[in-house]
């Protein structure tokens, strides 16, 4: 039976109406109308920019000049030959890795502690979570002052250990760690709250069963809690990693990527190229690379998740 014959037969049976009913039509218009504002804006400000970035990445253009010069793949070639690009990429990955891992480890510890129905639980939670919603520019300001080598708060805590005063933000070895510390400080609360929610979802009966079997607290954690938390852990790893790849505010204000680009990260480097040095084509190429990296990480993490996430 051909497709047409099949359709006719089905229509005769009253199974598939081939013409849209009035209602279906009305629904279609309603659907398109309801979603139009969102898809219009997504189209203009989210999807179109990918194509336009791709287009711009083949040109040399300073944003002011009326004409753009076509230079083929030169921007990408420049990028791959640019040691600063590789340094910045490396910094970004280091930053993302340490931020996510340390932040999650501490947050999990705190969540486990808070989950014990301690007194003052909501106060602890509210304070630890507060940096999540604190304006990053102000956070960078206060931390910049904490890191001040002469009068900063950090020096107070370093001194008893005999650590000499150090200008973290002007040091090639310490500026990136300084940024990481601030990002961890700001992000612990969010991770902790999500871990807490994850812990709530684990049914108590499982622990009770384990209690009967005489399992140690450590085994309890390692064989029950941690695997059952894996959806949360997975979610936080992905969102945290991608969030860290997009770090900008803290870097821009605390270190400006310096000294010598040792704390520079991709988005800040992109900003510098686009809006400080007006290398629009090169910056567009960087934007594409960022896009590719984020896509790749999402896909890899998706694949990995199948192996170790227990839903």
């Amino acid at each position: 039976m051909s497709k047409r014959q099949l359709k006719t037969a089905l229509r005769q049976e009253g199974v598939v109406p081939i013409r849209m009913t009035r209602r279906a039509k009305r629904d279609m218009f309603a659907f398109l109308g309801f979603t139009f504002p969102n898809f219009f804006l997504l189209g203009v400000f989210v999807f179109w920019p990918i194509l336009y970035s791709l287009y711009l990445s083949f040109f040399k253009w300073n944003m002011i000049a009326p004409k753009k010069t076509f230079i083929g793949l030169d921007n990408f070639q420049t990028m791959f030959n640019d040691p600063v690009f590789w340094l910045v990429t490396k910094n970004t990955l280091i930053l993302a890795f340490f931020t996510v891992v340390v932040k999650m480890a501490i947050a999990l510890g705190l969540a486990l502690a808070l989950n014990k129905n301690v007194k003052g639980r909501s106060v602890y939670r509210a304070i630890i979570f507060s940096p999540t919603f604190t304006t990053s520019v102000a956070v960078a300001m206060v931390w910049g002052w904490i890191f001040n080598p002469n009068f900063g708060l950090l020096r107070v805590f370093m001194r008893p250990f005999g650590i000499p005063p150090l200008d973290w933000l002007e040091s090639v070895t310490h500026s990136l760690p300084a940024v990481i510390i601030v990002l961890i400080w700001s992000g612990i609360g969010y991770d902790m709250v999500l871990f807490l929610a994850g812990l709530k979802n684990i049914s108590l009966e499982i622990y009770d069963a384990a209690l009967v079997d005489g399992v140690s607290p450590w085994q309890n954690f390692w064989y029950i809690t941690f695997p059952l938390l894996s959806p949360t852990t997975f979610f936080l790893t992905i969102t945290g990693f991608i969030g860290a790849l997009k770090a900008f505010d803290i870097v821009a204000i605390m270190t400006d990527g310096g000294p010598l680009n040792t704390s520079n990260v991709i988005v800040h480097f992109l900003y510098q190229n686009a809006f400080q040095w007006f290398k629009t084509g090169y910056a567009s190429a960087l934007a594409l690379i960022l896009f590719v990296i984020i896509m790749a990480i999402t896909l890899v993490q998706n694949r990995l998740s199948r192996r170790w996430v227990h839903y």
């Binding site: 504002p37 002011i64 002007e170 000294p259 010598l260 400080q276």
Partner: protein, 428 residues
């Protein structure tokens, strides 16, 4: 009722989305029917910023047909970026205060108003009052694009009390060799090996780090780059400066990179570099004797003249006229005398220099006169400063020398290559 208001709000939101003009009405500045309103972008902060606002205020009070709005846009490097962004957006200020080397970038792209026609309409000899060496920076391709306004030279500021306490005379070092010696005398470490007080702070900011470096190279008889973009960073003179600064930080341990005058004001370092324009701020904020002095010499006393010029990106004929009126006022005798007195910047014209107020002021405050005296020993800045990434590359050079402690020869070669590449990409 609550639901209805929610409906209304959502509807309103959708209308707003569709029609940006509603918002435009909310945020539009009231368009005056009478006076012409122009926007002036200024840089500089503290006393130097406030006194510019004061000049604007005086101008607005004196005119009923023009209103100038002064807007702070950040340090010079930021103004450069903001102006580029504004040009890209097609929404420019009428007047802008530019770091003098940046004039080239914009004049080259044809986005500044050529001032020759305005000058022609003034009486003959209008330009003769301006000090020629300063006026020269306003020209591009033999046309005038800007007038000199807040011109400055780099100075060395020393803490007189700290010198005296270290058994040194209350005066600034005269040569770079002496500078190094003074630095050693001023430095104090405590028992724990922490520096309590250091000789000098070297600025490594993107805005002015390169300027002091240029000054030192000039003093050694060298150049950073010439008008044709030949770069001389690997010359013995430039290398000598690079090595000296690095040795002071890492061998002598008597100096540090220091990006804010707070280190000086807090008595952590005894000597810092600064613009003549910082004089007002430093003298008013310090609780010790601040001695402003020439940059150290070596083979010669010679410094790169910096500071700003006033240029006109305005696109509207009527506002251009108003902008020119304000330009004349701000670069005119009274305003210049006032600005020089308040900030320590140099007066830009013979008449301002001879202004009775200013002469009286210098007599009463001889310490301030150093700015004027140094004017005899100036030459323009290096051409590479006008490259979009030029100052950033030179900042990196200073960071490589003073923070990363890299071999000066290699640093200078790398910096030369980077600047050359930037020049090839942007000017060829």
């Amino acid at each position: 009722m609550k639901r209805r208001s929610l409906v209304l709000i959502l509807l309103l939101a959708v209308i707003l989305l569709a029609n940006g003009s509603l918002w435009a009405a909310a945020q539009a500045e009231v368009k005056p029917t009478g006076p012409v309103k122009i926007v002036y972008w200024r840089s500089l902060t503290g006393v130097a910023g406030e006194s510019q606002d004061e000049v604007v205020k005086r101008f607005n009070e004196s005119r009923s047909d023009i209103i100038v709005e002064s807007q702070f846009q950040g340090a010079y490097a930021e103004i450069l970026q903001k102006l580029q962004a504004a040009l890209a957006a097609g929404d420019v200020p009428d007047l802008v205060l530019l770091d003098s080397p940046h004039l080239q970038i914009f004049a080259k792209d044809g986005v500044l108003v050529n001032l020759d026609d305005f000058v022609k309409k003034e009486k003959a000899g209008f330009l003769n009052d301006y000090i020629p060496g300063l006026l020269a920076d306003g020209y591009y391709d033999d046309s005038l694009f800007a007038l000199p306004v807040l011109r400055s030279t780099p100075l060395l500021y020393v803490n007189g009390d700290m010198l005296a306490a270290a058994g040194l005379p209350r005066r600034a070092p005269k040569t770079w060799d002496e500078f190094r010696e003074f630095s050693k005398q001023l430095t104090k470490y405590n028992a724990a090996g922490e520096a309590e007080q250091l000789g000098a702070g070297f600025t490594t900011t993107v805005t002015s780090g390169h300027w002091y470096f240029q000054g030192a190279v000039y003093a050694y008889g060298g150049l950073v780059s010439d008008e044709d973009f030949n770069i001389y960073l690997s010359s013995p003179e430039a290398l000598a400066v690079a090595t000296l600064w690095q040795d002071m930080v890492f061998k002598d341990k008597t100096a540090i990179p220091s990006n804010s005058h707070d280190d000086f004001l807090n008595k952590k370092v005894g000597m810092v570099f600064g613009s003549t324009g910082s004089m007002g701020n430093l003298l008013s904020r310090a609780d010790f004797e601040v001695i402003p002095a020439f940059m150290p010499g070596q083979k010669q006393n010679l410094v790169p003249v910096g500071g700003s010029v006033l240029a006109m990106p305005s696109t509207d004929k009527n506002r251009q006229w108003a902008a020119w009126e304000f330009m004349k006022y701000m670069t005119g005798t009274d305003a210049q005398a006032y600005l020089a007195e308040m900030t320590g910047y140099m007066p830009n014209s013979t008449s301002a220099r001879n202004h009775p107020d200013l002469a009286a002021y210098y007599n009463a405050n001889p310490v301030r006169k150093v700015a004027l005296d140094q004017l005899a020993y100036v030459r323009p800045q290096a051409s590479v400063i006008s490259l979009p990434k030029g100052t950033e590359i030179l900042r990196q050079m200073l960071e490589k020398l003073l923070i990363a402690n890299m071999d000066p020869k290699q640093v200078m070669a790398e910096t030369t290559a980077d600047l050359q590449k930037e020049y090839n990409e942007n000017f060829k």
